[in-house]
Amino acid sequence: MPLRSVLGKSIHDQWRAVLAWSAFAALLPGLYVALYPTLGTGSMMQMMQQFIDQMPEAFKAFFASTGLDMTSAEGFLNIELFGFVGPLLLLAVGIALGASATAAEEEAGTADLLLANPIRRSRVVVEKTAAMVLWTVVVAVAIWTGVALAALGFAVELRLDHVAGALVSLALLGIAYGGVALVVGALVARRMTAIAVATMLALVAYFVNTLAPLIPGMTGWRVLSPFYWYIGNDPLRHGLEPAHALALVAVAIGCVVAAAVIWERRDIRG
C-alpha cells in the first residue's frame, strides 16, 4: 500500500489484522446458516420454540432484540447472528480502530512527528475515521459473503437483500461506537480508556434497548439506544429502514466532528 496519506498508512498497518478478522467473521455466520437445515426443520427447533415461548418476557428480552422465533431462517439468524455475535464482531472492529486513531499516536509518542508535517489535526481524525469505516464495511461484506455462500450451498431460503440491509445497519452500529471510542481517545489520549468507555456505553445501550420496553413507563427510553436504531425495526425481515440508519449515521458524524474539534484544541501529549 503506497504511503501517501494518513489513510494509506492506516490501511498499510491494519489490513492483515482486518483480513484475518473478516475471514473469521465470514466463517461464523456461514456456519450458522449451514447448520440451519439440520436444526430448523427437525422437531428439535419446534421443541426449542416451545421452550422459548414459555420463558418469562424479561428473560427472552435479555437474549434478543427482536421477536424470538427459531422456526424461520430469518428468526434463527436474528437470534444467532444479529442479536449478539454480529454486534460483537462489528463493535470490536469499530471500537478498536476508533480508540487507536489519535490515542495510539499519542501513546506511542509519534503524534509530534506526524503533526510536524503540514496536515491539520482534524484531517488526521477524518482519515483515521475513513480507515475505520472502510474496515467495518469490509467485515460486513465478509459476513454477507459467508451467509450468502452458505445459503446457496445448503439451500436455505433467505432474502439476501434483507441480509445486506441488516448488515448495513450492523456496520453503522459498529461505526457509531467507533465514533464514541474516537471521541474518548481524542479527549484522554489513552487507548484502553477509550475502549473501556465505548464498550461500557455499548453494553448499557444494549440493555436499554432490550429491557426498557419491559419496564412500565420506560418503553420510550429505547430510542436513546443506538441498538434500537440498529435492530428495532427488524431489518432482516423488513429491510433497512432509512430513518433508523440515518440516526446511526448522525451519531457517527457527531462523534467524528466532536473528536476533530477536541483534538484540534487540546495540547498534544509529549
Binding site: L3, H12, D112, L114, L115, A116, N117, I268, G270
Partner: protein, 301 residues
C-alpha cells in the same frame, strides 16, 4: 520580508505546579545556527513544542517565518523540518517507508535528498525501523527533519544517541545548511556541542531566559579546568601571575588550575618546564551558570 525566523513574545506555558516556560523573549534571525542551551527540564522542549503548535501558550505568542505559530501553523509546518526530543518512530515501517510517508504528507518526497543525508549519516534506509538501534533511529529522525531542504530546521537534542563519528557527520550537515543560508534552531544540554556548531546561543534555566550570547564571546570567556603533569616537581610559585589563570594549586609535579579564555599564556609558561601531559575538563552547565550568571536562584528573582 522580515529577517526574523523565530520570535517569541513573553511566551509562557504553565503546567499546574510543574515548571514550563516563563515570559520567554527569543529572536532567531535568518541564516544562523541558533543554540538553545539548558539543563534537562529547563523548558527547552516545551518552548519548541509551543512554537510548533503541539501545545498552546498560557500567555504570550510566537511567530515563525513571520507567521503566527497557532493561526498559521499549517503554512509554517510546510517550511520547517523538526526532530522531536523524545523521538518515536513507526515500528510498522522501514526507514525509507517512513521517509516517503512524511515526504508525501509534505507534498513531495525528495528521495535523492533523503538518500544523500542517510548516506552522510551512514544509515541503511532499507531496514525495518523496529530492528534499528537507538542511534540508528535518531539518524532516521534527522533524515526526516533535514530532507527536502526546509527553510528552518528545529532540532531538539539532535545528537543524543549518536556516536562521536556520526556526530561529526551531523555537524557537517549543519555547516551545509548554514552555507545554504537556511536557519537552524537546536537545543542541547552540552556546551561544547553548542560551541562547535552554533553562531548564537540562548541559555535557559527553570523556564526563564538567562542570556543570549554570541558563541564567539562565550568562547572568549570559556572556562576550563586544566591539570598539567610535569616530568619533575615544580617550584611552589611556578604559575603565579600568568594571565587568565586562577585557582592554581601546585602539588609535586602536578598543577591544577582554572583558565578563562585562551590557554596560550599558560602553555607558554608551562613550556619552560618538562610538560608531560595535559588533562582538560569542561565545566558542567551548573558551574557555567554560577560563574557567568551568578547563583541560579538569583537569576530567577
Amino acid at each position: 520580508m522580515t529577517n526574523t525566523v523565530i520570535r517569541t513574545d513573553r511566551l509562557t506555558k504553565s503546567y499546574g505546579k510543574s515548571r514550563g516556560i516563563v515570559e520567554l523573549d527569543l529572536e532567531v534571525v535568518a541564516g544562523e545556527v541558533f543554540g538553545y542551551l539548558g539543563p534537562n527540564g529547563a523548558g527547552k522542549t516545551t518552548t519548541i513544542r509551543t512554537v510548533l503548535d503541539f501545545i498552546r501558550p498560557t500567555e504570550g505568542r510566537a511567530e515563525v517565518l513571520g507567521l503566527d505559530s497557532h493561526r498559521d501553523s499549517l503554512a509554517i509546518r510546510r517550511r520547517v523540518g523538526y526532530l522531536p526530543g523524545e523521538l518515536r518512530l513507526y515500528n510498522s515501517l522501514s526507514a525509507i517507508e517512513l521517509l516517503s510517508y512524511f515526504g508525501n504528507l509534505r507534498g513531495h518526497f525528495d528521495r535523492a535528498d533523503a538518500e544523500r543525508i542517510g548516506e552522510a549519516l551512514d544509515l541503511d534506509l532499507g531496514r525495518e525501523i523496529k530492528a534499528l538501534s537507538h542511534g540508528n533511529r535518531q539518524k532516521v529522525g534527522l533524515v526526516q527533519a533535514l530532507m527536502g531542504r526546509p527553510e528552518l530546521v528545529i532540532l531538539d537534542e539532535p545528537t543524543q544517541g549518536l556516536d562521536p563519528f556520526i556526530q561529526l557527520a551531523f555537524y557537517h550537515l549543519l555547516d551545509e545548511i548554514r552555507a545554504d543560508g537556511r536557519t537552524v534552531f537546536m537545543s542541547s544540554h552540552v556546551l561544547p556541542e553548542i560551541e562547535r556548531t552554533c553562531d548564537r546561543v540562548a541559555i535557559v534555566r527553570d523556564g526563564r531566559l538567562l542570556a543570549v550570547e554570541r558563541v564567539a564571546d562565550l568562547k572568549a570567556r570559556a572556562l576550563r579546568r586544566l591539570e598539567l603533569r610535569f616530568g619533575a616537581p615544580l617550584p611552589a610559585g611556578a604559575f603565579a601571575g600568568v594571565g587568565g589563570v586562577r585557582d592554581v594549586v601546585v602539588a609535586d609535579a602536578t598543577v591544577t588550575c582554572t583558565v578563562v579564555g585562551s590557554v596560550a599564556a599558560l602553555f607558554h609558561a608551562a613550556a619552560a618546564f618538562d610538560l608531560v601531559d595535559v588533562l582538560s575538563t569542561e565545566p558542567s552547565l551548573e558551574e557555567i551558570f554560577l560563574t557567568y550568571y551568578g547563583d541560579p536562584t538569583d537569576a530567577v528573582a
